[in-house]
Assembly symmetry: C2
Homo-oligomer: 272 residues x 2
């Protein structure tokens, strides 16, 4: 498994580009191959069985293309499929976003009362609750299913009155009262682009955390332990993109999440 190979990253669509951005910053020598399974997005409303099947196919497509490690940059897929992926692909390290996100939230919270906002599938599966309680058994976890945020993020409505109102609707009740959460974990890779709007709605003292930076740190550590870090910077392009549907839409919406411009010609259409 030569260290020069790219790191594979996949998500149901473009949300995982927030994780790719953090990975690229934390691992400046590495090259990345990103797969957005846009033909079957969103995963967040699908059953766990379907998500496991899709995630296994995405991982297989990336491994066929020679990646040396796999980052599951999708909360729903991390929650539902990480164990299945580790069992199916024992030859490479597999890193999800749930454990790093839970660790970030536990580190940020003083009171131990943590709110998690995520897709319906992630909340229903309870993976964040379980991961937080493993790290801090006395923690109190309030789960909030925030499906409309996904649509707002994809529409590019990251600021403005609609976003504020939806944020109030999802969050006000959870943060009301003196024993409300002191930390809000953004448990969906779409949500970091909404962070400025969410910050205005939660109490000033509350901490906002997401999985992107801690996942990148976890990936760096694991690659180092396994002797898989590149020694020489990768040549351009460091980032390559695959999608299972609609390269134009991937590029247009993806730019919001990656934080830098993407053209449809940068995105290769594949079947998985």
């Amino acid at each position: 498994m030569p260290a020069e190979r790219p790191i594979g990253v996949f998500d149901s669509g473009v949300g995982g580009l927030t994780v790719l951005r953090a990975l690229a910053a934390a691992l400046p020598e590495e090259a990345f191959l990103y797969l957005g399974d846009t033909a079957r997005l969103p995963y967040g409303t699908k059953s766990a069985e379907s998500v496991v099947r899709y995630a296994t196919q995405c991982a297989g497509a990336l491994i066929d293309r020679g990646v040396k490690a796999l980052v599951v940059a999708c909360n729903t897929a991390s929650a539902a499929a990480l164990t299945a992926l580790e069992a199916r692909f024992p030859e490479i390290p597999v890193i999800g976003v749930v454990e790093p996100g839970a660790a970030a939230a536990v580190a940020a919270s003083l009171s131990g009362h943590i709110a998690v906002i995520a897709t319906e599938g992630t909340i229903r599966g309870g993976a964040y609750r379980a991961a937080i309680e493993r790290l801090r058994p006395a923690a109190r976890v309030t789960g909030i299913s925030g499906q409309v945020f996904v649509a707002l993020a994809e529409e590019g409505w990251t600021e403005g009155p609609v976003t504020d109102l939806v944020a109030h609707r999802y969050l006000d009740q959870a943060f009301a009262g003196s024993d409300g959460p002191d930390t809000l974990l953004l448990g969906c890779t779409h949500f970091p682009v909404l962070a400025p709007a969410l910050r205005r709605v939660v109490p000033q003292t509350a901490m906002l955390v997401d999985s992107a930076a801690t996942t990148a740190a976890a990936a760096r550590e694991l690659l180092g332990l396994r002797g898989l870090r590149r020694q020489i910077p990768a040549s351009s392009p460091r980032l390559r993109f695959l999608a299972t549907d609609g390269p134009e839409r991937f590029a247009r919406i993806g730019s919001i999440f990656l934080g830098s411009p993407l053209a449809a010609g940068d995105v290769e259409l594949i079947d998985v």
Copy 2:
């Protein structure tokens, strides 16, 4: 092709239940088999090629189960795949929602200026514009892509301040000025449940039309012409439901669109 067979109806998910409801009312003798392709929803953001493939698989699954006619209760699939379905399945009548919706809008509009609000895929494909212009060549068509409405309808947020604000954001500009549209065509099967909220946002004199009632009328006429109308009322249950993923979610969210209660046990999970 015995007239006793059910009528097949399919959609990417639960939105098409607004069409099923109209069909069941217009054709009280008939039985219906509804398929929601929930494993791959939404179609509205997918490429035309993917939508044609999915629609062909859905139609095949219903025809394998003996339906005598096919209603494509999804605007995106009607726009992208109706011609392909007619060519592939010449043995049965295939009815889409685009032509009936366009006919309803043309009948309702005095000025000939018609706004269509639909998913990104439907607007991009231009099928409504083409269908309206075939019926009324001098018509002026304003297309509005309203993806966030899909999320609001699925979340059950059919009324309230968020819905009002999103409606203003999508519609105010199109309806401003003295030469604005006099008709708003709801070009997505999710949107009829939002009609009361939309009515408050468009000018009082504007007409709101959707495809459900006219599609049901078109289906009734076509079945009659082909001698496929049932003579004796179908025995219970008149409505049967198939889904490719998540029967619980299908039943819960589907109740909003069908307008009557649905239980997960009423929904059979299938692969297509």
